[in-house]
């Protein structure tokens, strides 16, 4: 297995020779609305680990994300909350979500701050839903990326996503979300948010390493009285390449509505699975029935006799 990039331990390269992208077509394992040949090599799966217990909600990740991706989120207002922008937007791929939770067991206030953004599912609902060939791709290291040239802006990815992540731009009408900084990962760097995160609440590396790191964090949290601390790597979507360490892994919903057991909606599965077959079958049957009928019954022609009957009727009444 080819090793994958880890959290940036160096500064980004600038020399042209060192910046050839290493995520190419041949590293694709899935491509929306199309098939890809098996990848020539298997990159080691990567993951971003978000340790909510270390997060101070400073929004450095948002800032770094905007600067790296050259997006221009709109200036909003204060509506009584700390979330700004108020939601993920086509220009804001990641968002700190704040919730004030009073722990019924301890009576203490806990300010739970979760960095929201694309989870890079192993089984990506967006990709499944996407009708445009090659608009959504998945690399063998687990990154799910949107290819804007191929995107038609239909918003099916929004319906496919169990985490409510993609957003359609009103400017170029294509879907946007966190790319896991595929352009940085491709040259051996970690995502911009992970690089910036002041407390290393966001780390990036191989999924295996991140799981090990999570284990040590969970152990620390348990030692501090968070008995239900755990790793959020939901199996319903085959695991994710963005994982959370949660102090209350038994209650993900308290973290601004993190889904309890996310999976691609059965409705979406029905739509992208059963409906296709049933639909084609039904249309085919209708057409076939017509052809059969025409073969056996022949055309239904108006006869001379019919015409005469009509003429007679008319004469009679005139």
């Amino acid at each position: 297995m080819e090793p994958s990039p880890r959290t940036a331990t160096s500064n980004p390269p600038v020399a042209a020779s060192a910046t050839a992208a290493n995520l190419t077509e041949r590293d694709l394992v899935r491509r929306s609305a199309s098939t890809v040949p098996p990848p020539a090599r298997q990159l080691e799966p990567v993951a971003k680990l978000i340790d909510v217990s270390k997060c101070i909600g400073c929004k450095a990740c948002q800032s770094a994300c905007v600067e790296w991706n050259d997006t221009k989120p709109a200036l909003e207002t204060n509506t009584g909350i700390y979330e700004n922008p108020h939601d993920l937007t086509p220009d804001m791929f990641t968002l700190m979500r704040f919730s004030e939770w009073e722990n019924p067991q301890t009576g203490n206030l806990e300010w739970l701050i979760r960095k929201d953004g694309c989870m890079h599912c192993e089984d990506p609902g967006c990709l499944k839903a996407c009708p445009a060939p090659g608009a959504i791709v998945q690399y063998s290291n687990g990154i799910v990326d949107f290819i804007h040239e191929n995107c038609i802006g239909c918003g099916y990815c929004i319906k496919g996503c169990p985490f409510n992540i993609p957003r359609i731009s009103k400017v170029d009408h294509t879907a946007y979300k966190c790319t896991l900084c595929s352009d940085r990962v491709a040259v051996g760097q970690g995502p911009a948010c992970a690089k910036a995160c002041p407390t290393h609440a966001i780390t990036f590396g191989t999924k295996e390493d991140m799981k090990k790191l999570a284990d040590s964090r969970i152990e620390d949290l348990k030692s501090r009285g968070f008995e239900n601390a755990g790793l959020y790597d939901p199996p319903g979507v085959g695991g994710t390449h963005v994982m959370y360490v949660l102090h209350h892994n038994d209650k993900p919903a308290i973290y601004s509505g993190l889904p309890e057991d996310p999976k691609v909606s059965p409705v979406v599965n029905a739509w992208k699975g059963m409906a296709k077959y049933v639909g084609f079958a039904a249309m085919g049957l209708a057409a076939a029935a017509g052809m059969l009928h025409s073969a056996f019954a022949g055309p239904n022609r108006v006869t001379r006799e019919d015409e005469e009957k009509a003429e007679d009727l008319v004469k009679e009444k005139i």
Binding site: W271, G279, F280, G290, S294, N300, R301, V302
Partner: protein, 231 residues
């Protein structure tokens, strides 16, 4: 009862053959707008429905423009069909005799129309198609709006959108099936197409397929100037 099966424009031109006006120009334009919209919608919609048909977006100038056009065409279809609906809903109201007619559906399919009760302006299969189309188009426009994210994203939740998109695609499939039946029926029942091109049918066609309609027209003396032979 009988009054419902006649439309204002319906009239008999005596002659040889007898010619019966069935659809005036407005109705025909309305129909063809609907038809073209529906075909375009089917083509673009199918492109989104299955990857193997994505190439159809090429007909619309690519995926982006297909995505832009599809819902607008849908709006055109909706209003256009609404026009047809207003014109024809009365003629498509079910009647007592439809039961009997349907009891002889086998004969209808076999083309043994003489064994059937006389049909009015529309026979029950046509009525069934009409109402199916109507209901499906309403379903399509409603679900279509729910997934028309460019303008109506805020109107529905994502779970609602998911249901909407599923319902939309299933409704579209059904509509296409109905459409196939409709088109086939037109082809099968020769002499039908001219109703939507020239606006009229021959007396024989009316006698054969919609005898009660013809009889009623005659009964009410709905005559116009004789059809010229050239017609």
């Amino acid at each position: 009862m009988a009054t419902t099966s006649i439309e204002k424009e319906d009239a008999i031109h005596p002659g040889k053959p007898v010619v019966v006006d069935r659809y005036n120009l407005g109705a025909r334009i309305n129909h063809w707008i609907t038809a073209v919209s529906l075909i375009l919608l089917a083509l673009s919609g199918l492109a989104f429905f299955h990857p193997s048909l994505f190439f159809l977006t090429g007909l619309f100038g690519g995926g982006q423009s297909a995505r832009v056009l599809h819902p607008w065409i849908g709006v055109v279809l909706f209003f256009s069909f609404a026009g047809l609906f207003i014109r024809f809903w009365r003629a498509n109201l079910p009647e007592q005799s439809d039961r009997e007619w349907l009891a002889h559906a086998n004969d209808a399919i076999a083309g043994n129309e003489e064994k059937l009760p006389e049909a009015g302006r529309y026979n029950p299969i046509q009525k069934f198609n009409f109402w199916c189309m109507s209901l499906l188009i309403i379903a399509l426009i409603l679900t279509g709006l729910a997934i028309w994210d460019q303008y109506f994203y805020e109107w529905t939740t994502i779970p609602q959108k998911r249901v909407a998109v599923l319902v939309h695609s299933l409704a579209a499939v059904l509509l296409i099936c109905i459409w196939i039946v409709h088109v086939y029926a037109v082809i099968w029942a020769r002499g039908t197409l001219r109703a939507m091109t020239r606006g009229s049918v021959t007396g024989g066609w009316a006698w054969r397929h919609h005898r009660r309609w013809l009889k009623e027209l005659a009964e009410r003396r709905r005559f116009k100037k004789p059809a010229t032979p050239a017609e």
